[in-house]
């Protein structure tokens, strides 16, 4: 049951080398591949969720897995998020490693008591006699005309809970490696999948044709087993002018805006919000002296507030300008006006101009 200690970065690199040949995958295929690899490696891994079995999930992330591993390892559930998370806690107590899917992050709220009061607290309250080694997968974020009940980014609810880890990938390669790390982790993890970039990176210019992952280096995904460590940010670009802290879809939007404006930005894709890679953040801000935080979630008490406080507390004497926070507005995600809500190129561009004018 107990997994070996997390490998070092070098060990991760050699693991990737041994992970077999790569092929181009979009994020859905990469997630499917991670689940496939883990179902094959560990008989205790079990997948459950609404429509994930025969049908393969509304976003197809579990396509073909029931056929391959059988109905008792990959199965549909009643429409009850409380039940899905609750039975996953009990399965963990038995010794399984459940990977429940919540069909949309917006639907996770009926499961919150089981997540917050139970899964997140079980190790602590039982002095480690019982654990909840589950990975809750859920598509999150907007930009697909999902309206207010299929677009939310509730990550800050979970980062606020002691005992939960929160992980958000931004590329197919990371999605697979991070998901495998999450499944092998002995603590409960919230794994939010940015559904706007399931099929291709998103520049933020919604009126331009959608891109696929075709041709992107980050879409070259090894077929086999490899892990990306939790708690380590990815440096998307080296730069001197300012530091961008982002995750999920917003990594790509920020990257495109910086490219368009010709800004020499250092972009950090945080990948794991808890535990956070504070060392990478500090090192970058100490170098650039300027910090822009970008997330799609609503602003007030969003994860950007935590990032901003940390940067202020730890890097104040390196800062040359007030920290900029670029976020969604404090409204529900509106259907027809979703691009007015979305923190797109205009909002990001304005923040960059302010930072660089200081």
């Amino acid at each position: 049951m107990t997994m070996a200690k997390d490998p070092t970065i070098d060990e991760f690199a050699s693991m990737v080398a041994e992970a077999g040949p790569s092929r181009e995958m979009n994020m859905i295929e990469a997630i499917n591949s991670a689940l496939d690899v883990m179902l094959g490696r560990d008989d205790d891994v079990i997948l459950l969720g609404e429509d994930i079995g025969y049908f393969g999930g509304v976003f197809r992330c579990t396509a073909g897995l029931q056929e391959k591993y059988g109905k008792t390892r990959v199965f549909d559930t009643p429409i009850s998020e409380c039940g899905i998370i609750g039975v996953a806690v009990g399965m963990g107590a038995y010794g399984l490693r459940p990977v429940p899917e919540i069909q949309f992050a917006d639907y996770i709220y009926p499961g919150l008591d089981q997540l917050i009061s139970e899964a997140a607290r079980l190790r602590y309250r039982s002095a480690a006699e019982f654990i909840a080694p589950m990975t809750v997968r859920s598509p999150f974020g907007g930009g697909i005309f999902g309206g207010q009940t299929h677009s939310q980014s509730p990550e800050a609810i979970f980062t606020h809970v002691s005992g939960l880890k929160t992980v958000i990938p931004a590329t197919p390669y990371d999605a697979k490696g991070l998901l495998i790390s999450c499944i092998e982790d002995n603590d409960p993890v919230i794994f939010f999948e940015p559904k706007r970039i399931y099929n291709g990176p998103f520049s933020g210019y919604y009126d331009k044709p959608a891109k696929t992952w075709k041709g992107y280096a980050e879409a070259q995904v090894p077929e086999g087993y490899y892990k990306i460590p939790l708690g380590k940010a990815r440096k998307v670009s080296e730069g001197e002018a300012l530091t961008v802290l982002a995750y999920g879809t917003m990594v790509h939007v920020a990257e495109e805006v910086c490219r368009q404006k010709g800004v020499d930005a250092e972009i950090l894709d945080l990948r794991t919000l808890v535990p956070l890679d504070i060392e990478a953040i500090e090192a970058s801000i100490e170098k650039t002296g300027k910090c822009m935080i970008v997330h799609e979630a609503t602003r007030t008490s969003g994860f950007g507030a935590e990032l901003s406080a940390l940067v202020q507390e730890r890097c104040f004497y390196h800062l040359e300008a007030p920290i900029e926070r670029v976020t969604g507005f404090d409204t529900p995600y509106p259907h027809s006006l979703e691009w007015a809500y979305f923190p797109g190129p205009v909002r990001i561009g304005e923040a960059i101009d302010k930072l660089l004018s200081e």
């Binding site: 559930t77 609750g86 009990g90 002095a127 480690a128 654990i131």
Partner: protein, 430 residues
């Protein structure tokens, strides 16, 4: 105006909101003579693998074995050996002795909180006897009888209640929120009914592995109102999970009587009908009936015939907890007038009637058990009582949030230790 019938509001009767009210309040004279208490031995016993619907008449009945003649009657008589009966009697009496001493310990300031289960001992002790030792128990907060029936050491229980330095849970949990993986007793949560879907999940896992272990869970009638109850029973019926749901209907949820969970309309056992699972309603103060019902459900689950909901009809003879004063909301006569008697007394009289026990033996046993509890308290007090400094080291506060300590908790841990050094510079070690 919206389209509808032609009737206008003024012609229709006024709606009335019904807010349930218990029959008796403080000072009232209590009369339970209209409670339907059927004759023991008259309830039919379907085969354990019978279709669920064969149990539905029992959801409105009451399975009883022990009669006023102190003899066992009818098809639900589990025919237990005198040794087993004496063992169950001893454990129920031990639970009662333990409760009485711990209640006093709380009143003496040795801990913050305690919960007795007086009158309900059979629903945990005798039910646990019907399970295998490796079956998983997902308890609520009044199931100390399950732990005692599985042989948990009294000193360990008291260490937990005192949150002292020997507490296996490192002083993190409210008193009585026990946990023992060794005894297959899941960690108790203060959030009610969360254990129900967890028990279903454990049972599903066991079934998915082709194992033979089943799960049993307990919940008060009041918290059957939680959504978790519905989720748990839905999952249990969908996957035919090998799980037993014990609903302890002790009539009161703190000050709210069972009517606030729907008891004015239907029995709690009858909820099984809507889910298509087996349902039994049992006299919870009849140790033999409780054992028989639990054993029936365990055998059913183990033979892949599915889950069972058992309503244990009983009475909470004491307050909800040490923080509660039931004289503020219910009649003190209820306890005396409760028509189903006391489970310890009933089993004792049965054994005496069988010629397997005596009043003298019982008195000697009570004295022995009380001495045992007092000895365990003395032993536990060597490890400290709540608030007297003999707690776990400060650093342990940050352990087990995660498997490994992340940087932010490491920093906060250093802060906590620094605070202690500032406050007690003469004793910085802990």
């Amino acid at each position: 105006m919206a389209k509808g019938t032609d009737e206008t509001g003024s012609n229709r009767p006024k709606l009335a909101l019904h807010v349930p009210e218990p029959r008796y309040r403080p000072g009232d004279t209590v009369d339970f003579s209209d409670l339907n208490i059927p004759e023991p031995g008259k309830q039919p016993r379907p085969d354990e693998t019978a279709p669920a619907k064969d149990t539905y008449p029992l959801c409105d009945d009451l399975i009883r074995v022990l009669g006023d003649d102190h003899q066992a009657h009818g098809p639900w008589d589990p025919r237990l050996s005198p040794e087993t009966l004496r063992q169950m009697l001893r454990e129920m009496a031990l639970v009662r002795a333990f409760d009485n001493r711990m209640y006093r310990a709380q009143r003496q300031g040795k801990t913050s909180f305690y919960m007795k289960c007086t009158g309900e001992e059979a629903t945990s002790v005798c039910a646990t006897h019907a399970l295998a030792g490796d079956d998983m128990i997902f308890p609520s907060y009044r199931q100390q009888g399950c732990l005692i029936a599985r042989g948990y050491e009294l000193t360990e229980m008291i260490n937990q209640i005192y949150s002292n330095k020997a507490d296996k849970l490192k002083g993190r949990q409210l008193p009585i929120m026990y946990c023992s993986k060794r005894l297959n007793f899941f960690s108790i949560s203060g959030n009610l009914a969360t254990q129900l879907p967890q028990a279903t999940g454990f049972a599903m896992a066991s079934a998915s592995k082709g194992d033979s272990r089943i799960a049993a869970t307990w919940v008060g009638e009041g918290s059957t109102a939680e959504g978790d109850f519905h989720s748990a029973l839905t999952f249990a019926t969908v996957y035919n999970a090998p799980v037993i749901f014990n609903v302890i209907n002790n009539q009161w949820a703190i000050s709210s009587f069972s009517g606030f969970a729907g008891a004015e309309r239907a029995t709690f056992a009858a909820r099984a009908i809507g889910y298509g699972i087996a349902g039994l309603r049992v006299d919870g103060n009849d140790p033999l009936a409780v054992y028989a019902a639990e054993r029936w459900a365990a055998d059913r689950a183990r033979s892949n015939a599915g889950p069972t909901l058992i309503e244990h009809f009983t009475y909470r003879a004491e307050g909800h907890s040490t923080s509660d004063d039931p004289s503020a909301y219910r009649s003190a006569e209820e306890r005396e007038e409760w028509p189903l008697g006391d489970p310890v007394t009933r089993l004792k009289r049965h054994l005496v009637a069988l010629g397997e026990w005596s009043k003298e033996q019982h008195e000697a046993m009570d004295d022995e058990l009380d001495a045992m509890v007092r000895a365990a308290m003395k032993e536990a007090e060597k490890n400290g009582i709540l608030g007297h400094g003999l707690h776990h080291p400060f650093g342990t506060m940050f352990e087990d949030v995660f498997e490994e300590l992340p940087w932010h908790l490491k920093e906060q841990s250093e802060q906590a230790i620094r605070e202690r050094q500032i406050k007690w510079p003469e004793d910085p070690a802990e």
